[in-house]
């Protein structure tokens, strides 16, 4: 069990809380499950023939019982390796697919009933898939959005101006267009998705394939927009920078289950038992028995990186400083990516999720 943190206190597991608290959540997910039947293709010509009549299917459990509550105004990140079930969860919540079991409500609506009233109040942005009416010029596709979302003209103008302002002011003027094109497309996608002022926004890899500057722009925009509008956002991303910049609450999903729900810093505290000690020795005098201080991660004379257990770090540090001439020293948490990679691989054996305990 992770130490209870703010988010966990806000959203205790199902069954432990009075109904009153639950009804405040914008997104409520209870034991949500989704399995796909995947056609198992056999190798060889004969198998291809027999496959025509007698197909072998394999059940893939993409989401195996997720419980989650998200309050109004939260910005939550879904982390997890490819195929962990992040995107499937977003698809379930936006009503693109039906679950195999469990329940979910977003703003009181059951997403997969695809109620028009619900569809006017949320937006889904999938970074790698084009959802624009892209054969239309931008202005036209926005007007189309105005119509299909029944946005009145005053609100449309206000919303449009605001978005243009927010997204374009930060544009780098000297940047060649071809380098910006993906970023510009993403901005267009965001504009289209936010025109109707959705109260809930699902973002699937919003910065995938973008260069650093475009990524940064999108992050800044999302941060600002979310703060001003206090909308609820669920985001999946592979870029830890996105998550670090945007989300206070992180939900790690692996093998279709939630294995962590809390703050980003909490991940390092919970899953990492060591720190990284970097030492730079003076005068090129490097001791040969470095391993007595900790595991040597990297050795580049006169610098060394050591992996040291968290609980002995102060002792090790004072010992090193006393015994050697040190020019520079730093103690860091292991890189978040590394910790998370470790978490992902640890979770390879499906364990009961903390939230289900």
């Amino acid at each position: 069990m992770p130490a209870p943190d703010a988010a966990a206190v806000l959203c205790p597991p199902f069954g432990a809380t009075p109904i009153i608290t639950l009804s405040m959540a914008v997104i409520e997910i209870r034991n949500l499950q989704k399995s796909y039947r995947v056609y198992q293709k056999q190798e060889g010509l004969w198998a291809a023939f027999t496959g025509l009549v007698n197909r072998k299917h394999r059940e893939v459990k993409a989401v195996r019982g997720i419980d989650l509550d998200v309050q109004q105004g939260e910005f939550v990140a879904f982390l997890g390796p490819n195929g962990a079930g992040k995107t499937t969860t977003l698809k379930l919540l936006s009503g693109v697919i039906n679950p195999s079991g469990g329940e979910a409500r977003v703003m009181g609506f059951v997403p997969w009933q695809r109620d028009n009233a619900y569809r006017r109040r949320f937006a889904l942005v999938m970074g790698q898939k084009n959802q624009l009416w892209w054969d239309l010029p931008a202005a036209e596709s926005f007007r189309l959005h105005q119509q299909i979302y029944a946005i009145d003209s005053a609100s449309f103008k206000q919303s449009h101006d605001e978005l243009v302002d927010l997204l374009d002011v930060r544009r780098l003027l000297n940047q060649p267009v071809r380098e910006l094109s993906l970023g510009v497309r993403m901005k267009k996608l965001m504009r289209a998705a936010l025109l109707h002022k959705p109260e809930v926004l699902f973002l699937d890899e919003p910065t995938i394939g973008l260069d650093v500057i475009a990524q940064h722009n999108i992050q800044k925009f999302l941060k600002h927009y979310q703060e001003v509008r206090q909308i609820t956002i669920l985001l999946t991303s592979h870029y830890m920078k996105d998550v670090a910049a945007l989300c206070k609450r992180v939900v790690i999903i692996n093998y279709g289950q939630i294995i962590y729900d809390g703050s980003l810093d909490g991940i390092v505290d919970k899953f990492s038992s060591h720190k990284v000690l970097t030492l730079q020795f003076g005068d090129g005098r490097m001791p040969s028995d470095l391993s007595r201080y900790g595991d040597v991660l990297e050795l580049k004379e006169p610098e060394v990186k050591l992996r040291v257990e968290r609980n002995v770090i102060t002792d090790v540090l004072s010992a090193v400083l006393a015994e050697h001439e040190i020019e520079d020293v730093s103690v860091e948490d292991p890189p978040l990516e590394e910790v998370i990679a470790q978490v992902f691989s640890q979770a390879a054996k499906p364990t009961p999720s903390p939230s289900a305990v």
């Binding site: 796909y36 936006s94 697919i97 039906n98 569809r119 036209e140 299909i148 979302y149």
Partner: protein
């Protein structure tokens, strides 16, 4: 209701504007479509000459003499201009395959309605521009027509063209919906197009088929895409049979509207259960 009408109007207007951009190649394209008519004139000229009946117009095949045959081709082309839906089924199947269909699940907009309006816009622009080459062609081939038909026939002809448009749209949209069930839609579409090519009557008047194939061809809805309107105009189908034909055509339209709706509903359910 007003909001919905406004939405439809916006979609229609936007599609119109979009279509108008591609006017350039239109004229040439449409003119080229009349070239085959010239070959038909020669081909049937030779056939009827073989019967020794080309000049005096007495010889008939399936109720059509030489002039009728040439006039039929032009009229069948008019029918096809209304009922053919290039790119519609393959476009739907592609949208299903590449996941673009999600847009219609996530956003409050109906796929069939949207496609219908864009197609109406497409056709309106097409007729607007193609009117000129069609007029020229009809003028050049006016000798093969025996004057204008009576008003009630013209009315029935116009109605059958509108119905041909609706039938073509919903039939081909239904074909596109197959994409929900199979990834390999293109070969199915190819077979459908092949049947469509022969049995809609764009190659020859269906009445010249030997029995029992004429009965078969006239029993299936494809005939309403080209043969029926042309036959009405040429008064090969007259009086009660003409109005009865229109009623059957309208019934087929209703059938395909419903079938298309049901297929979309089921398809989405399947899509959301298996794919996504």
């Amino acid at each position: 209701m007003l909001a919905r009408a406004q939405t439809w109007w916006t979609i229609l207007r936007i599609s119109l504007e979009e279509r108008l951009v591609y006017r350039g190649d239109f004229w040439i394209g449409t003119m080229m479509r009349f070239l085959p008519v010239v070959t038909q004139v020669f081909l049937w000229g030779a056939v009827f000459a073989g019967m020794g009946a080309a000049a005096n117009g007495s010889g008939q095949i399936g109720g059509f003499n030489y002039s009728d045959m040439v006039a039929y081709y032009l009229l069948a082309m008019v029918g096809r201009a209304f009922s053919s839906m290039p790119g519609l089924p393959s476009g739907i199947a592609l949208q299903i395959r590449n996941g673009e269909i999600k847009k219609f699940l996530v956003q409050p907009i109906d796929l069939i309605g949207f496609l219908f309006l864009t197609r109406v816009a497409h056709k309106l622009v097409y007729y607007g521009v193609a009117l000129v080459p069609f007029a020229i062609a009809f003028y050049l081939f006016r000798g093969y027509f025996s004057g204008w038909p009576p008003v009630d026939v013209l009315l029935a002809f116009s109605i059958s063209l509108v119905l041909a448009f609706l039938l073509g749209f919903f039939m081909e949209a239904l074909m596109g919906m197959l994409g929900f069930w199979t990834l390999e839609v293109s070969s199915l579409l190819w077979i459908f197009m092949l049947f469509n090519f022969f049995l809609s009557g764009q190659m020859f008047p269906l009445s010249i088929l030997p029995p029992p194939w004429d009965t078969v061809a006239l029993a299936i809805p494809l005939q309403f895409l080209a043969y029926f309107p042309a036959a009405v105009f040429l008064q090969k189908i007259q009086g009660p049979a003409m109005w009865q034909g229109l009623a059957i055509q309208a019934a087929w339209v209703m059938f395909f509207v419903i079938a298309c709706r049901v297929a979309f509903h089921r398809g989405v359910r399947r899509y959301s259960a298996f794919g996504g």
